[in-house]
């Protein structure tokens, strides 16, 4: 790991030789090891099927890893029993690609569902959340700019608004770590930037570490200081965003003319139209 990422503190999250082999024999993750420190936002990039989704789901065990260790603070999550795992999951907020809000519940109910791990069943069932939880939910909705939408149904919101609810729900858990799975894949470029800005702001406000799966390399470079590149379940790059050059991108994604779409390079001359056989 590059020296610039060691803040001299203990890691918030430490993955050691994390592996996942699916029952079909597909090796999705291959001895993945890295550390995440407090306040650090990591962009996890790689081609489709490289194991990005599997990796973050192995951390909170929505997918069961088949080998290795996941340490959140001092706790090894991999060996926990069901109820201990639930207790640890409260510490890990998760944000999803297609928002994954409960569409037919109100915005407020969705945000409050971040407290489910903390309240007994009957309270959640009767929607009798504690006063300070409700207060906090309102504060978070205000923070993400949706205070006036609290009582709307989640499916009445736009994509960007829904993702803000998703962020508020994750923060409602009062997490020590954020796992973010393709937060902008369903959003337009402008909304994507706004959501990424909001996420990074919130993380630095709270010193919250985050792992963000992201397809969009320029977006990742713009918003993240540290990038991890995954290829076929193996970490092939771990470094600062500036170090992501052509060689590295080829290493991660395979050969491609990486400069063709970069704004700083002069536009290529228009190609001659491909001849269609008559």
């Amino acid at each position: 790991m590059p020296a610039c990422f060691q803040f001299g503190k203990t890691a918030m999250l430490r993955l050691t030789n994390l592996s996942k082999t699916y029952r079909t024999g597909d090796k999705a993750l291959n001895d993945v090891s890295f550390e995440v420190h407090k306040g650090q936002i990591i962009g996890l990039i790689g081609p489709s099927g490289a194991g990005k989704s599997t990796l973050i789901r192995c951390i909170n065990r929505l997918v069961e890893p088949t080998g290795g260790e996941v340490r959140l603070g001092e706790v090894n999550l991999v060996t926990l029993g069901k109820s201990d795992l639930r207790r640890q999951r409260r510490r890990i907020g998760m944000i999803f690609q297609e928002y994954a809000l409960v569409e037919r519940l109100s915005v407020m109910e969705n945000v409050l569902s971040g407290r489910l791990g903390y309240v007994p069943f009957w309270r959640s069932w009767l929607r009798r959340f504690e006063g300070h939880d409700i207060q906090r939910a309102y504060e978070l909705l205000d923070r993400v700019g949706l205070l006036q939408h609290a009582d709307k149904r989640a499916d009445a919101l736009s994509g960007g608004q829904r993702q803000r609810v998703g962020i508020a729900r994750a923060l409602m858990q009062d997490p020590d770590l954020l796992l973010v799975d393709e937060p902008t894949a369903s959003l337009d470029p402008k909304t994507s930037r706004q959501i990424m800005r909001l996420l990074t702001e919130i993380c630095s406000e709270r010193g919250l570490p985050a792992i963000v799966n992201i397809h969009d390399v320029p977006l990742a470079q713009h918003f993240m200081q540290r990038i991890i590149g995954l290829r076929a379940g193996t970490v092939v790059f771990d470094g600062v965003a500036e170090a992501l050059d052509e060689t590295v991108l080829t290493e991660i994604y395979g050969a491609e003319d990486w400069n063709a779409l970069r704004p700083e390079t002069p536009a290529e001359p228009a190609r001659a139209p491909v001849e269609v056989p008559a």
Partner: protein
């Protein structure tokens, strides 16, 4: 136009072998139909069939005009019929909900033992007509409304259970995953992740079944399980065709109303 060698010259939806098999299949179906027709008509007495228009006209003339004076007497049985249908539906739905959760692949606690049991309950309930359930129950607990209510409830378990478990299996897994990721317990995942998603189906299925049950409960009286059917049985026994017209019209009116109501309710819910 020059065609490159590796591009096939023609395209057909099926190979000629597939086409031949398909054609033979259709031929077999037609042959089966002809044969069935022959078997079916073997024991038909054609004299009776030729007579049919006269018979129909005869019964028709006896059915008309309806004896409207009979209508007030039908109000109490009609009320009974509505009660059988409504209470039977409520009972059936209450029993069907746990069965559906046991039967759905994504919520069943045990796929090897409890799921087959739940599926068996659903199939058993569905395979037996309400009328047969009523027949059995009248023999067991005696004639009356209770037998009708239980018959309707037992028949409804299968219908509601099947449609509901399919709705549970079709829920969006991402929403459930998101609730699980918060550290919620299994009961909370159920009430927050799954229940909101199946609510429209649940109400739609229940109202639809209620509507079907209104129709079914009108005839349960034929076997002594109370309601309008009881009156129909009595009128049939004395060949009072003009009374039967009134009963049939009343059933028609009730079904039309219940169907309109259920359509409205379902629209309002979904």
């Amino acid at each position: 136009m020059s065609t490159p060698a590796h591009i096939p010259p023609v395209w057909m939806r099926r190979t000629s072998r597939q086409s031949l098999l398909l054609w033979l299949g259709w031929l077999a179906l037609v042959a089966l139909f002809v044969w069935c027709w022959q078997v079916m008509t073997q024991s038909t007495i054609w004299a009776f069939v030729l007579d049919a228009p006269d018979q129909a006209a005869d019964i028709g003339s006896r059915m008309l005009p309806p004896e409207w004076g009979y209508l007030p007497e039908l109000m109490l049985p009609l009320w009974d019929t509505l009660n059988i249908a409504t209470l039977g539906t409520v009972g059936g739905v209450i029993m069907a909900v746990p069965v559906a959760f046991l039967a759905a692949r994504n919520t069943t606690p045990s796929a090897t033992f409890l799921r087959p049991v739940a599926l068996f309950i659903i199939v058993a309930s569905r395979s037996i007509n309400s009328l047969i359930w009523a027949l059995l129950l009248v023999a067991i607990i005696g004639p009356g409304l209770l037998a009708g209510i239980i018959a309707i409830a037992l028949r409804s378990i299968g219908f509601v259970g099947k449609l509901l478990y399919e709705a549970i299996e079709e829920t969006d897994a991402r929403q459930i995953e998101a609730i699980t990721a918060t550290g919620a317990g299994p009961a909370q995942v159920l009430t927050y992740g799954i229940v909101p998603q199946i609510m429209p189906s649940f109400w739609g299925i229940s109202v639809f079944r209620w509507d079907i049950n209104i129709r079914e409960s009108t005839i349960l009286g034929l076997v002594g399980a109370g309601g309008l059917g009881l009156k129909m049985n009595a009128s049939l026994a004395v060949l009072a065709w003009d009374q039967i017209t009134v009963i049939l019209l009343l059933i028609l009116g009730t079904v039309v109303l219940s169907e309109a109501l259920s359509a409205k309710l379902r629209k309002a819910i979904i």
